[in-house]
Symmetry: C2
């Protein structure tokens, strides 16, 4: 699905004979999405915003991956069912289709598999797949929308998460100033920002933060040169592979829209970009950035904010008399 | 502000020499809103969706008055800070500018005064006005937007709530099928729906459910003919007036979009329209509707669903390094 989505604009460039060749840099431009299945995406958008996928009727995908807030919740760790504290910082949903895998430890292969997780996690939406499907299947507006998107057949969790994933695949953020610079617009970056990118690139940040998402393409050890000290108990990818080498390896987060997705790191411990740049320099690269270099890198990072997804707030189809009611307090 | 908003369309009708005179019925059509101050409304929309007005950084106006769900949360009572259970059902924000006063007991005179309440209520958003203003005033995007909307001068809670109220005044729902019928379109209602309206009107429902909001214009005793039994401790308007006559008097809710705003009554005890119609008939009118009459009234009530507010999901300006961070778990 991903490749189908991104190929169209490239193809269009070729067809019109455009000669724009992006600068050869480790970070690649993000292409706008071309929606090929609008009915599926529209259904997924509704489900993404629907708190009835949670036991309480209060928590939706958008609660922790808030599309008004850069696809994150801007909290150190999220709030789940009955105000339980989440174990890890919620990563942004923006550009998540570029991720090598989903979750910080990569335990889900793709967006549809990821979407299964929070619905049934007792500390998050605290529902079950069966109950969530039972709610959706009693809402006439959803029954019609699923039939339009998938054709005949019963609603099941696979269709629910496939629709949510199809919507999430549209949540890319092209047209960042850095992308415009990559595509040849010399005036898109200031001298300060360009200097910041040179510090970023020559210091080795692009070893991990590369590709269209400026990250998200590999698992890396947090605390490579110096150990990272945190009270967060997450052990990273070892939870998936069982391999000791994967202890404290996490998916490198995307730097796209990083100005919007504070606080930073899997434990949300860095509240500002300045702090995050300092910690990354010391712990991953063995380098102390000067105050001037740090300010330059932060200025560069702010050029990675792209066009945010823009759409009309979805209206959700009302429950019927047969729809099970939420149970927030039992 | 209210009158300015509604007069324009009427004036327009006069100016073009239109001769549409609504049918003379106790329920009046809703006029579309003409926005006279788009900068103020846009700012109010951002604040309405911004969870940073709460101590936790998780609860916004839209959490309990969800504009994807008919301006309500579809819960018996709402979820507040640290998952506290609200004392009363959250009324819809849709058409709330028509309300005689705000809250079930009318303790706020207008929408701006209402908006002050939940921000500082320890069981709801659990913030203070000072802290909320302190957050907003450190966000550069808001500083610019307030200056654009209000001109120079400090941000204070009065400006915050005035902006939110200006947005809420736009949340009217014209063009319901019942409105089209009121305006002369005989085909807008089915025979069943029209029969339902006749039952509704001749039974006396319009004594309280009248005007453009089909309610919201008076305080009435819940349990007029037969007492209403509930475990909800709210005593209604007596909390405001101290007058014994106001015990168990509540603001009559609007019936606009009632198909979307379940569950019903101040205690949220009626889960379906059928149940609500039955209870209202017996307790307020001393009347047991037949199954046929009840189905007709419910069919009529569903014709009160109007055009839902349609707007692009707002993007919220990011916090600065100086912005105090949310405290969800302390």
């Amino acid at each position: 699905m991903r490749s189908r989505l991104v190929l169209w604009p490239l193809l269009a460039l070729v067809l019109v004979g455009a000669t724009v060749v992006p600068r050869q840099e480790p970070i690649r431009p993000i292409e706008p999405v071309v929606v090929t299945d609008p009915a599926l995406v529209e259904l997924g958008k509704q489900l993404y915003f629907d708190p009835r996928l949670s036991r309480s009727g209060f928590i939706s995908c958008n609660s922790c991956h808030n599309l008004s807030l850069g696809g994150s919740d801007n909290l150190v760790s999220s709030i789940g069912h009955k105000w339980q504290q989440g174990p890890i910082n919620s990563p942004t949903v923006l550009n998540s289709s570029f991720n090598i895998a989903q979750f910080w430890d990569g335990r889900a292969a793709d967006l549809a598999e990821q979407a299964e997780g929070p619905i049934a996690n007792p500390a998050e939406m605290a529902f079950t797949h069966e109950l969530a499907v039972g709610v959706v299947a009693t809402i006439p507006g959803y029954v019609a929308a699923f039939e339009q998107a998938f054709g005949p057949g019963p609603i099941d969790i696979a269709r629910v998460t496939k629709a949510i994933a199809a919507f999430e695949e549209t949540l890319v953020t092209p047209n960042a100033r850095f992308d415009r610079w990559l595509l040849g617009d010399d005036a898109a970056l200031s001298g300060e920002e360009l200097a910041g990118y040179q510090v970023f690139r020559t210091s080795g940040c692009t070893t991990c933060h590369n590709g269209p998402a400026a990250g998200a393409s590999s698992f890396q050890k947090m605390g490579l040169v110096e150990p990272y000290r945190t009270e967060n108990p997450s052990q990273g990818r070892i939870a998936v592979t069982g391999e000791e080498v994967d202890r404290f390896r996490f998916k490198t987060p995307t730097l796209r829209n990083v100005e919007l997705t504070y606080p930073y790191f899997h434990d949300g411990a860095a509240g500002t970009l300045t702090e995050a740049v300092d910690v990354m320099g010391r712990l991953q690269l063995g380098r102390r950035f000067s105050k001037k270099e740090s300010a330059q890198v932060v200025a560069f990072l702010r050029t990675l904010t792209g066009d945010q997804p823009s759409f009309v707030l979805p209206q959700l189809p009302p429950s019927s008399d047969a729809t099970p009611r939420p149970q927030p307090f039992d």
